[in-house]
């Protein structure tokens, strides 16, 4: 059983905590484009044309650190790297589904 970090104060609300991981302009977008697939960096670039390369790797890195996605690099030239959702990452799919429903329901 993992202890919660209730030392002095901190440990906020579940909403804020989750937003630290998947909040921001790009993360859900990226996770959505990866979905159940494996995606290469260049592929994601095409799928999300509005994102800059800098933001894309930066956010991919963060998602890897949070263990939402997995990075697999092949030792080839030119390089090939694939990203895919971890088990933890798959747990954000339902959030995305609800977001899509909201979008449909409200537009």
């Amino acid at each position: 059983m993992k202890a919660k970090k209730n030392k002095n104060n901190l440990e906020e609300c579940p909403v804020s905590n989750t937003l630290k991981i998947i909040g921001g302009k790009w993360r859900l977008r990226i996770i959505n484009e990866i979905g159940e697939d494996k995606r290469r960096f260049g592929e994601l670039k095409r799928l999300i044309p509005e994102i800059s390369e800098k933001m894309l790797i930066q956010e991919l890195k963060a998602l890897v650190e949070y263990q939402i996605i997995v990075r697999k690099a092949y030792k080839e030239i030119p390089p090939r790297v694939e990203y895919y959702a971890s088990e933890k990452g798959k747990k954000v799919f339902p959030i995305i589904e609800e977001i899509k429903k909201f979008s449909n329901d409200t537009n």
Copy 2:
């Protein structure tokens, strides 16, 4: 039937579109604290101690503009203002629910 704004290019993805409305550090947090209740400004301040007053009204205003919440002001002195979720706003509850599930599942 409402036409989608597919003039020249634009009209992005449902994820990005929804994040414009409920994205950012505070909006989901605020909606979550309002929930099914009516909440006064000062109440929300207490419920979300980390937010500054400036951010709180700023975000409340934005949520009112997006018709996620409703602002009801009573003509009293000292002033009394209540905020509550609109029908549209209630449609974001399922998103919040999934976020909470994620938080539970993963911590």
